[in-house]
């Protein structure tokens, strides 16, 4: 059974509908932007992902077109990179990621941090999306039963 699960939701998009039935009795830690509400069943960890003045101005400038969004995503202000920096600054979340059995990037901006985490701790599983997390948990449970 998967015991320690970290779910990365840097926009807070999944919190309201977070179905954690697949996690069974595993411990779930949810990384969220500051101010986002979390379901009662999880431990929430909030990080500051706000864009500074320059980043916000660049975003406003580029976000209107597909090409502009692509360029913005290559800058240090990209949501994925901002999350990674915030996580590195937070020893408690860094520790959680190091000890996790499963890291879930629930949305796009969680991908880079999840990838960095699995590079540091190759034994952990690391998936994109909650359906994939549920499938992984089910497969792990099945393996443990056998």
């Amino acid at each position: 059974m998967t015991r320690r699960i970290v779910v990365l939701s840097p926009t807070g998009a999944v919190t309201r509908d977070l179905d954690l039935s697949w996690a069974a009795d595993g411990r779930v830690d949810l990384v969220l932007p500051r101010g986002a509400a979390a379901p009662a069943a999880v431990s929430a960890h909030h990080v500051d992902l706000r864009l500074g003045g320059v980043g916000a101005a660049v975003r406003r400038l580029l976000w209107g077109s597909a090409a502009g969004r692509t360029v913005f995503r290559l800058t240090p202000w990209d949501g994925g990179r901002r999350l990674w920096r915030a996580v590195r600054r937070d020893p408690a979340i860094s520790e959680l990621l190091r000890n996790a059995d499963l890291v879930v990037a629930a949305e796009r901006d969680g991908l880079f941090t999840a990838w960095k985490s699995v590079r540091r701790t190759p034994a952990q599983a690391c998936v994109y999306g909650l359906p994939a997390a549920a499938a992984h948990a089910a497969a792990t449970e099945e393996r443990n039963r056998r």
Partner: protein, 452 residues
């Protein structure tokens, strides 16, 4: 390639159908019901059916599944699952490169460009080779009499095209939507002479039959391919016969408050904001609706990642009695309908849009409030229904009035009214849509000297 052989004893003289559907149970996508029903219908009529589909993990980890669908596959069908790889469905991040993790959009663009060289369909072009190879192998081992493929993805059509080109096997193209037509805007999606245009022309020209889900989509294609007009047919969607065995009765206790419900995937095309604006206004104007609830069932997008704008809209309307209750398994959907007193048919705009759920909605006999453009093809299905309440437009006042009318009908509906509406809708049972085409295909295969 893995094969799930459902029946060891096969009828040697029965014709062999190769049915191709990328999305097949346990997939949860909308088109999966049509695929499931079509393959089952052939098996029930005595065909030996082999289904070519994508490997199970694609759905388990990529899109989410409906586990209640797999047991509904006819036991006589052999299911062959092929490896499938696409950026959208490869969710194991530990296998990703730095470039993919750091710049997923650019990585996916480059990968898609490579796939598009194989077949011009983003995300699916790479499946062409495994699909064609598997079809040729199957035909070599057990000759195929007919191929039916359902799209999208349109790469599904290539198995039949390859067997036709190499071995003269006839094939049927079953379009659930369209390839070159945006069914929402009515706009043509690819330029004349483009790779997609050339491929579709080639496929349609040599197809034995081409199926569409409604007349407007067929008309559009008839104009594009007049030489194939005689081979084009409407095979509308429908509700499953098993669903009709458990139709919901009128719910007791409605006077204390109604439950209005939407069941289906809530994609970005679904006008949720218009529905909720109308709902809030209706609750201000109607005491009945003020004590009622609006229940939304289904995934909040086609992929596993919820649509943020829908998530926000539902959250912001929780105080107005709006609840999202998650997806419903197809096999247990009758229980959900039994909870509801009025149904909300909330669809994207487009005269080519029917949706599959309209038939199931109709079958229940529950009053239906249509919250979509009146010109949608779905209106043609429901026009004569005794329990249909279409909105004249998507403004808050129009939607609110429609909801009030549907709610009053829901409160007043008797058991006799419900049964009458259910009898009216029995015309939409799926086997009635498929039967004429299956009979015609059996005659054609027999003429061609098929096994039957």
């Amino acid at each position: 390639m893995t094969t799930e052989r459902r029946d060891e004893v096969s009828e040697e003289r029965a014709p062999h159908l190769l049915y191709v559907a990328w999305g097949y149970p346990p997939a949860r996508s909308g088109g999966v019901y049509r695929a499931l029903a079509t393959a089952n219908a052939f098996a029930e009529r005595g065909w030996r059916v082999t289904v070519l589909t994508a490997e199970r993990d694609v759905f388990v980890t990529g899109t989410g599944i409906d586990p209640t669908l797999e047991p509904l596959i006819d036991e006589r069908i052999s299911v062959v699952r092929l490896p499938f790889s696409s950026p959208a469905y490869d969710v194991d991040i530990s296998r990703w490169s730095y470039a993919r993790a750091a710049a997923p959009e650019i990585w996916a663009t480059l990968r898609n460009r490579r796939d598009l060289r194989r077949f011009p369909e983003r995300g699916y072009g790479g499946w062409r080779e495994p699909l064609e190879r598997a079809a040729l192998e199957l035909h070599a081992n057990d000759p195929v009499d007919l191929v039916v493929a359902t799209a999208n993805p349109h790469v599904d059509f290539l198995a039949g095209h390859r067997l036709h080109t190499d071995h003269g096997v006839p094939y049927v193209m079953d379009y659930r939507d369209a390839w070159q037509l945006d069914v929402f805007s009515g706009r043509r999606l690819s330029a004349p002479g483009s790779a997609i245009d050339q491929w579709e022309r080639r496929l349609v020209e040599s197809a034995h039959e081409v199926w569409f889900v409604n007349e407007p989509i067929l008309d559009w294609h008839r104009a594009l391919y007049p030489n194939a007009a005689a081979r084009m047919h409407v095979v509308a969607n429908g509700f499953e016969a098993a669903f009709a065995e458990r139709l919901p009765p009128v719910r007791a206790g409605r006077e204390t408050g109604l439950r209005l419900g939407y069941i289906g995937t809530i994609s970005s095309h679904v006008p949720v904001e218009a529905l909720l604006a109308g709902w809030r206004l209706a609750r201000e104007r109607s005491e009945l609706l003020a004590r009622s609830e609006l229940e939304l069932y289904g995934y909040l997008d086609h992929s596993g990642i919820p649509n943020q704008s829908v998530v926000d809209a539902i959250r912001d309307n929780a105080e107005h009695g709006v609840r999202h209750l998650g997806p419903v398994g197809k096999a247990t959907i009758s229980d959900t309908y039994a909870r509801l007193d009025a149904l909300l048919l909330v669809l994207g705009t487009g005269k080519y849009v029917t949706s599959g759920k309209v038939f199931e909605y109709a079958a229940t006999g529950i009053p239906i409030a249509s919250i979509h453009d009146p010109g949608n093809a779905a209106s043609d299905v429901l026009r004569d229904s005794p329990v249909w309440f279409p909105t004249p437009g998507l403004g808050p006042d129009e939607v609110a009035t429609t909801l009030e009318r549907a709610a009053e009908a829901a409160l007043a509906q008797t058991d006799d009214d419900r049964r009458a509406a259910q009898r009216w809708a029995s015309q939409f049972e799926r086997s009635r849509q498929l039967a004429p085409r299956l009979a015609a295909l059996e005659r054609a295969v027999a003429r061609n000297g098929g096994s039957r």
